[in-house]
């Protein structure tokens, strides 16, 4: 007798995968700790090599933030598929009723949460160390950071899937993704700098448009491309 079952749903499946990934990361904490250590180190080094009379804080801070987010993001992305490779757990996922797109979306969500957790640590740290007083415009900065992080996670997750098929995943992942991060990091850093400088958000509208366009194009493209990364 076939067991009665629940039909697979895109979001439910994605959420199940995301929850599993986050649970594993929470248990091991290895990638998050590495990312946090890197963040603190970066903040300290940039702070102590910075001449406040030469460059104002809001010129330097966005660069520092995005260096941290990008490299911390890469640490999380690496482990995203490494944990599936370990005992061929991925085969179990692929053999289940979940659609490939669901699995991909779940991993993107988990990576996004990971990056957001690092950001939640790094943003206050940078604000503190660099004496930034942005005031009410923080929501704008956070919106920009979120927009860019969505694109970062989508593209990063796809390339992590590709890299996991190779022997040099840790080297290959940054090489492949960094050109793709350019249209994310530059607009995000420029727009954040603008806001921290006190300019109205409207001045950075063209940067925001690039971010939104990138997210729309690449999230869909990556969802479509993901099944091709799986051998059949």
């Amino acid at each position: 007798m076939t067991l009665p079952h629940r039909e697979p749903r895109f979001l439910t499946g994605a959420w199940q995968v995301a929850r599993k990934d986050l649970l594993i990361e929470f248990r091991t904490r290895s990638a998050f700790l590495a990312a946090s250590v890197f963040a603190v180190l970066a903040v300290v080094i940039f702070r102590f090599t910075w001449d406040p009379t030469g460059i104002p804080a809001f010129e330097l801070a966005p660069g520092v933030l995005w260096v941290i987010f990008t490299f911390a993001g890469l640490l999380g992305l690496n482990r995203s598929f490494a944990l599936e490779q370990q005992d061929r757990a991925f085969d179990g996922l692929l053999a289940s009723q979940l659609s490939r797109e669901s699995i991909f979306a779940g991993k993107v969500i988990a990576n996004l949460v990971f990056v957001a957790a690092v950001q939640a640590l790094a943003l206050p740290a940078v604000a503190l160390f660099f004496d930034l007083s942005v005031g009410s415009a923080w929501w704008a900065v956070m919106a920009i950071v979120l927009l860019a992080s969505v694109g970062l996670s989508a593209v990063g997750t796809l390339f992590a899937a590709i890299a996991s098929n190779t022997r040099m995943a840790e080297l290959l992942l940054p090489m492949m993704t960094l050109p793709f991060f350019v249209p994310l990091v530059i607009p995000a850093a420029q727009a954040s700098a603008l806001i921290m400088r006190g300019q109205p958000i409207e001045d950075g509208l063209s940067w925001l448009k690039v971010l939104v366009a990138f997210d729309l194009v690449f999230v869909s493209a990556c969802v479509v491309a993901f099944p091709f990364t799986i051998e059949e």
């Binding site: 190779t166 290959l172 090489m175 050109p179 793709f180 249209p183 420029q190 690039v210 690449f218």
Partner: protein
């Protein structure tokens, strides 16, 4: 090589048919296209150096423009365009020949883009006094060069031929989508900062002698590109055939 026939009666080893295409297949004897390309390049260089007037304003260094612009046209538009199109096509029609075309375009394109990236700063040094000034086109070229390099490193890192073709086609297709975003980002960035006076061959009206030299250089580079492309393509065909034979 043991040939064990399957139920369908076809031989097991299906090596890529190297001799199938007369234009692209194995060739013995003189490579006419390559010879023509080399002659054309020599002719263009000689003409550029000795028979073209020196630009009054920019000086002798301006002649590097006959190298820089054709290399940019060929490396950026033709090579990268071929790479993008063949990557997308491969995902649709899984033909190994398309994959080999993508690989060859990437390799030859990398060389031509390298020429752009070396001639640009040489020109920049003499006219702006600095090797690198984040000029819009050069910056875009740099990012594209890094992208194609990553593509080739990916190809080198995947062992199975089928996976290699499939995974690099995914990357190539996404790279095709990325290019307009890179151009846009760099243009917006430059829009905020005053740009150094740029090598803009389209704008000034070139005298007829310079135009002719430029035309010759363009033709020479086109011939060179396709000659090199075909050479690399044949090499990848033989390499893959050999690998298939070894694993059969």
């Amino acid at each position: 090589m043991a040939m064990v026939s399957s139920t369908t009666g076809r031989p097991v080893g299906s090596a890529p048919d190297a001799a199938a295409s007369p234009l692209l297949g194995e060739h013995h004897g003189v490579d006419l296209l390559m010879s023509a390309a080399v002659i054309a390049c020599v002719a263009a260089v000689v003409r550029a150096l000795f028979f073209t007037p020196v630009d009054a304003m920019l000086g002798a260094v301006q002649k590097i423009f006959y190298l820089h612009v054709p290399a940019a046209v060929v490396g950026l538009y033709i090579a990268c365009g071929l790479l993008a199109v063949s990557s997308i096509m491969y995902l649709w029609i899984k033909d190994d020949r398309i994959d080999r075309l993508a690989e060859s375009s990437a390799e030859v394109g990398l060389v031509f883009m390298g020429i752009v990236l070396t001639t640009g700063p040489i020109w920049g040094r003499s006219s702006w006094g600095t090797w690198w000034a984040w000029e819009a086109r050069l910056t875009s070229t740099l990012f594209l060069w890094l992208l194609v390099l990553a593509y080739l490193v990916l190809r080198g890192a995947v062992e199975s031929q089928e996976s290699r073709a499939r995974l690099s086609a995914v990357m190539g297709s996404l790279a095709a989508l990325l290019v307009p975003f890179i151009h846009l980002t760099v243009k917006l960035f430059r829009g905020m900062h005053p740009e150094p006076v740029v090598l803009a061959p389209e704008k000034p009206k070139l005298p007829i002698e310079m135009l002719t030299t430029f035309g010759m250089a363009m033709v020479a580079f086109l011939l060179l590109f396709f000659a090199l492309l075909r050479m690399r393509y044949r090499w990848t065909t033989m390499r893959d055939a050999r690998a298939a034979l070894l694993s059969a």
